[in-house]
Symmetry: C2
Subunit: 333 residues, 2 copies
């Protein structure tokens, strides 16, 4: 593999394109609109995200709505979950057969509740693509600046996952392979909901103890959910489960955590996305996770409370009181 197209010029797409260029890939970062890709080229920075990052000279730019995508060895998907299917429909006619896809998006399809790799399989099936996902504790800012990070690549085709592992690793980014695609994707979806809850705790002025309890009980809830849907429990203890959860719940960079903080301060969900200026995946995914959990009869008290704040305007204080005053019990998984 020598050439890569990164579909989506948000912060993670921009950071990952920078990483690929650093690895020696001929990389094209593709924005939704021509106007934005022109701006990226002109300024060698992304005016909307990661403004402090100077984009590498080797990076090229294009618009994914129009670009010829047939010649790329690797196509990287870095678009919000809510646009995932529509972007695939936009680009699929321009992809080659047996295209190598790597998906960076986290969430679930809002209409079908499907995992995103399933959506890609579904939309691209006539092309017989290779599909992998990459997920882990990877704040875009830090990967872009080459700070040490670790991540997971997962695919049902482990040969493909291991090939990507070799190609994407360098001294800054350590890549692990994991065959449990279901677990990796479900963890990535649910962790943003738990991060929202952690942010709510922060927003109420609570401390590190409360946040650590949210992380721990949240991981238990993620793991119960995932295993009920066919995932391996241990994936949730790995980089794409616990690792990403910890990074998202404790970082100043995390928009999902910040969203919870704003909700605790009385913002509505609509005001939160307006304030943050970026897609906040947890706002979309919380009710989807709850729907799947209901179908599978999995108890998810934290997710239920988050969804109640989002849908019914339940107060954040009331959520914490409800969670703290449940009957005493043994630790359960």
């Amino acid at each position: 593999m020598r050439t890569a197209a990164v579909i989506g010029s948000g912060s993670w797409g921009t950071a990952f394109a920078t990483h690929l260029a650093g690895l020696g890939f001929d990389t094209v970062l593709m924005a939704r609109r021509r106007e934005l890709s022109d701006k990226l080229r002109r300024h060698a920075t992304n005016p909307e995200y990661l403004q402090v990052l100077t984009l590498p000279e080797a990076l090229a730019y294009d618009c994914y709505a129009e670009a010829d995508l047939s010649g790329f060895d690797l196509v990287v998907l870095a678009v919000p979950s809510r646009f995932y299917r529509s972007v695939l429909r936009t680009i699929k006619e321009r992809l080659s057969a047996r295209v190598c896809v790597l998906s960076l998006s986290k969430g679930l399809d809002p209409d079908s509740c499907m995992r995103l790799s399933r959506v890609a399989e579904d939309e691209l099936q006539s092309l017989r693509p290779s599909i992998a996902v990459l997920s882990g504790p990877n704040h875009a800012e830090e990967v872009a600046f080459g700070q040490p990070s670790a991540t997971v690549v997962s695919s049902v085709d482990m040969e493909y996952a291991r090939r990507l592992q070799q190609l994407l690793s360098d001294e800054h980014l350590r890549v692990y392979a994991n065959a449990d695609l279901v677990g990796v994707e479900l963890a990535a979806a649910v962790k943003n909901v738990i991060a929202l809850a952690a942010g709510m705790s922060d927003g109420l002025g609570y401390g590190d103890n409360a946040r650590a309890a949210v992380v721990t009980r949240g991981l238990a809830e993620m793991s119960r959910f995932g295993t009920a849907l066919g995932a391996q429990a241990r994936t949730f203890s790995g980089l794409s489960g616990l690792g990403d959860l910890v990074a998202t719940c404790t970082s100043r960079h995390s928009r999902n955590r910040l969203a919870g903080e704003l909700l605790a301060q009385g913002y509505t969900p609509a005001q939160v996305e307006h304030e943050i200026h970026m897609v906040v995946e947890s706002l979309t995914v919380a009710p989807l996770v709850l729907r799947l959990a209901g179908d599978a009869s999995v108890a998810m008290p934290i997710t239920e409370n988050v969804a109640a704040v989002l849908a019914e305007g339940k107060s954040v204080e009331q959520c914490v009181n409800d969670l703290m005053s449940r009957a005493p019990r043994d630790e359960d998984w």
Copy 2:
């Protein structure tokens, strides 16, 4: 139970005595020296720890080297691991038969590498005591100020653990019971070593991604170690494992994390304890964990690197390079 003696007036002993007084226990906080217990009484603050906390009026003070301990329903041990056995030897003649002991200390006995509840059993066996340990993500400051926290009480006698769970819970502190005493104690010992590594990463200027990777791989290492020594794996995913690890690795309050930061800045271990003015359990426990891991043939790459920094003055940069450049692999547990 109505009366409690807290042995040890460090930050956690002081905070827990405050919690017990709030629950309505007639509580005596006991310092090592008469001079200090007099100071506590006179100022209603602890001059050495938690200085901003005004101690509750209901709290009484005494010196555990001399006090009559025979009348207390509950004796709480909150002394550093390195003094644990000697403190028990000091007080045991003054304890009643069938005394109820709750241990808050974290670490291993430096001479024997024994878990601390085993040391208590050993020293107090003629009294046939009930012994439980309490462990979780519980920064003393936050518990003292009644911020929401969750924790675990564990004992081989689950009836005793459940009794304590009922007695120690309130709307601020949610207590879970866990029968895996071995896991709870080993997690508490090893998490400080991992927190030291997380602090080293912070001290090198690395970010949330690197720290999340340390937490994740650290938990894997803790869990391998614990299960090899007879613990249940799921305890490591609970509040006394993951929960405490997250709180310790991400908090500004954590002295073990701070110790790692100072080591990365070139301080020696001796300078670190001098600078922090408190016992840093990880400095004592790292070589003990490594010794037990060697006996059980468990690989602990993070602990090995921490121990090499402490014992041989290996550079922190070299540790990170060694950990990042290991051969690519699948996620393993």
